[in-house]
Symmetry: C2
Subunit: 235 residues, 2 copies
DNA sequence: CGACTGTATATTGGATCCAACTTTGCGTCG
DNA sequence: CGACGCAAAGTTGGATCCAATATACAGTCG
């Protein structure tokens, strides 16, 4: 188990994990001193890691009042999926044009990794491999900024992905759909690929609607804007 | 001149300005000690500000090697505009549906601000007002995350906007087009609004192609991914 | 003479310390 | 009894200090 070359990166990874594991809850202040001591580090690298999460929208920062995990209402989640729809469709369309032997091999390799993890009932690895699979599909688009935005969107909904993968039905459906996606990728059929990916995402959305249920849009902070807007000088 | 409530925000604003003013150049290490002393602050708030810029892609960070301003090739700039195309079209389509008296009033107010600044030959204010104008147009879409992404895309190309506004021809064209955009907004004609905004952006792109000229894609770092990818554990 | 290695220096990363602000609780006054 | 104001404690923000890493340079060996 190789640990990151720098403490902030270690802390960042730990924070992501803690948010995912619901050890840090929304609307509950993140006490820097306590978290830092818990990880055996000082507050400085913690604060730098929090700044990254702030910029990603994972936590909300208010000057002199500290950080809290971002509360996600159903509305927020639906927005994330709508953005993914838009961006991943674009990425997929561009990517198919560039699929060569190398790219397809990469995709199939990750596909097998997902299957393998599923057979071993290793949910954590299955989720990770699923992510690599999807990025292997989209990355050939050759648009690094686009990929970065997509990445943060995935991060935002990581906590809910775990719920989705808890169901065996969902897991086997994922595998089936991936199979079809791989076939379509081999054929370089862009339109069909976009369609399949859309349907694929849609299942997650449906599951979300059930899981999160009615939109209780807390009157507190909740909705997304957070950091960027907070830090910028103009509305 | 009210200064920000916290030092990091002051430093952040100063860094943005310095990058825009080409006081900090791409591929040239940002010496924290020197910059911090120059601003009369310690390195801590500087580092936090740099982390935000890193997450936005404005600077590149490499552990133990520090930060540099992100180098933008023509390819990178075109990617930014392509993303804006995608995202702002979506935002505009959604926004028109929600235009009410308040929203339109806000748009027209900013429109007048742009005209006013243009008449006073106040380029800085004209650029700022232009930005407020466009965001007033899009904000009613009610998608905070979408707006945030668009905001960072604007930030990325800020340096080049100054060049564009240097030309009196470009400035007067901006005013004319804004006029037409406002009319279309009042009519709530979504399709036409999207079309106008597209043409509006296209002029900036054309200007960019001339300004930046051939793509010299420096073999160094350059291309976009930077922070997010850098900091994440997986590709 | 070139390449490598070891060392010195500069720069970044992290820890500790102090200051500023926010919040909470108590007391007082209306 | 309620609301306002003040004071104390806790938490965040910033500065300084020390450690770790990378870079530059010089010396040495092939």
């Amino acid at each position: 188990m190789s640990r990151p070359p720098t403490t902030q990166q270690f802390v960042l990874a730990e924070l992501r994990r803690a948010i995912l594991a619901r050890e840090l809850l929304p609307n509950q202040p993140i006490r820097q001193d306590s978290v830092a001591r818990g990880l055996g580090v000082s507050r400085v690298p913690l604060r730098e890691a929090l700044k990254i999460l702030e910029a990603e929208g994972q936590v909300v920062y208010r000057p002199h009042r500290g950080y809290t995990v971002t509360e996600l209402s159903l509305t927020d989640l639906l927005e994330v999926y709508r953005l993914r729809e838009l961006l991943e469709s674009e990425a997929a369309s561009l990517a198919v044009e560039r699929y060569g032997a190398t790219e397809l091999e990469r995709v199939e390799q990750e596909h097998r990794a997902v299957i393998d993890a599923a057979e071993r009932d290793d949910l954590v690895e299955m989720i990770a491999a699923n992510r690599r699979f999807h990025f292997a599909l989209l990355e050939p688009a050759g648009m690094p900024r686009l990929m970065r935005v997509i990445r943060t969107l995935w991060d935002t909904t990581d906590a809910y992905r775990a719920v989705y993968y808890n169901s065996a039905d969902n897991r086997s459906r994922v595998l089936d759909e991936h199979e079809e996606i791989v076939r379509t990728a081999r054929d370089r059929d862009g339109a069909e690929l976009v369609r399949l990916l859309h349907a694929h995402r849609q299942h997650a959305v449906d599951s979300l609607r059930e899981t999160v249920g009615t939109d209780r849009q807390a009157p507190g902070q909740s909705s997304g804007g957070s950091a960027g807007a907070e830090t910028r000088t103009e509305p």
